[in-house]
Chain length 296, copies 2
Amino acid sequence: MTSHFADRLLAAIEAKGSPVCVGLDPSFDKLPAEVKAGESPAEQVRAVGAFCRGVLEAVAPIVPVVKPQIAYFEVYRDAGVKLYFELVAEAKRLGLIVIGDVKRGDIGSTASAYAAGHLAGPDSPDAVTVNAYFGADGLAPFVDAARAAGGGLFALVRTSNPSAAAVQDFADAASKPFYEHLAEQIAALGSSEGLIGRCGYSCIGAVVGATYPDEARRLRRVMPQQIFLVPGYGAQGATAADCAAAFKDDGTGALVNASRSVLYAHRDKRYAGMGWKQAVEAAGRTFADDIRRAVS
Amino acid sequence: MTSHFADRLLAAIEAKGSPVCVGLDPSFDKLPAEVKAGESPAEQVRAVGAFCRGVLEAVAPIVPVVKPQIAYFEVYRDAGVKLYFELVAEAKRLGLIVIGDVKRGDIGSTASAYAAGHLAGPDSPDAVTVNAYFGADGLAPFVDAARAAGGGLFALVRTSNPSAAAVQDFADAASKPFYEHLAEQIAALGSSEGLIGRCGYSCIGAVVGATYPDEARRLRRVMPQQIFLVPGYGAQGATAADCAAAFKDDGTGALVNASRSVLYAHRDKRYAGMGWKQAVEAAGRTFADDIRRAVS
């Protein structure tokens, strides 16, 4: 096992056979009744913990990566943050690569504190998502922490939500949109000394929403050394064919995330009659197979 | 006391006599020796807590607002997040308005979780900073939470750090920079039904760095109903005259933040011979007087 994040990520994808990631976005209201024992904050935290541990066990044999979304833990403040890091550790014990979806970003001094809290030390996620709006000096502490820990970053370039275009499509005189300008900066930063793995990809990747496949194809050319973390499949409406636009012709270069369509499979009539954990496993397999077929 | 955030904020500024905010960015290495009892994480958390409580007591008679920066608490994970919310509550007990500097931002479903964790309920900050890159649907849950709680938001428009220009100055064919495009969206969103207080300002404000005064003047025209939260004074290099560019002619419309130059006054030779808490108080007064003079 090498210590470069991109090399580890590609090896894990190869081993599991599909470039997919399951997002842990546990919303108490949607959890299966079996994990709930009450509605108090402490009972909700226990239910979220039990549910997420079950999801990790169900998907660990199928997918290479999980992505806990810290917002769903911050709802419970310190108790939730404690659980978030316990789940990061549990996922790593199960052999999963963990991307902490924290989307932090600030000026350099503050970013150093975020990087220390979220990306340093053996019990941190392998990588985190970051907001790149502050530019290079805001990203530098995260880059340094990633380099030191053999970890990675995924910088927000093009998001998957409906309002993304109204902000991010703002274009210059040559019709280049803002998100492509940001992509150029991420590509330059990611090619810095020591950041490229043996696989040819950088430890600095990019978040590129699957809901805009034409843009993903364009960004694939702008960021040839970035691994794309691709949200938007499933509940957000993108298909496996849409996601395929984020990959290179050799089938590498991207990681597709699904959250709600896997987590809440017990609410999906395709998996009726199964226990919730079996439903998560079945939905995880369906997702992994769907993406594998689309990119091979 | 009215329940609209902008009205409360302007009344608090009027009562204290200066439109200033002290940022709580407690970095353990820079704390006075008197609050330190050891280097373990638990001892560091205790030292940060003792220091911040002392700062709150020292500045509460002088300034209307404090702004804890959550990154410096997340370094200590759940123990730090617990302390962050304890300090929010303590600051509110002392009559201070609290802006949680969290810069969260995500797609709508995730933003709802962040808003619930950071802006709902009586023990939350009065307002939070948010990242606006996702656009209107990512901001909507924060707006809803602010409206429900009588709280506020400050959306990142123009940051104060050196790399800001390389990202945010990206301009269209009419030479309009991206941050101004974002400012127009914030201005439109902030003028929605029910968001404008009796004072004429919206509960949706904007972060506009003081290190670029010409841009602040331009943004003042683009966002007439936004209160500007202005970082960059002191340690980041902006002067009171630079900060004045963010205000309207009547001296309202902005709130200037200083963090390091007040917090670490015990390391400043101008305050030599004082205890650290007296130094914080003296530096707070110097800061408040400096800004008051510049805008009156």
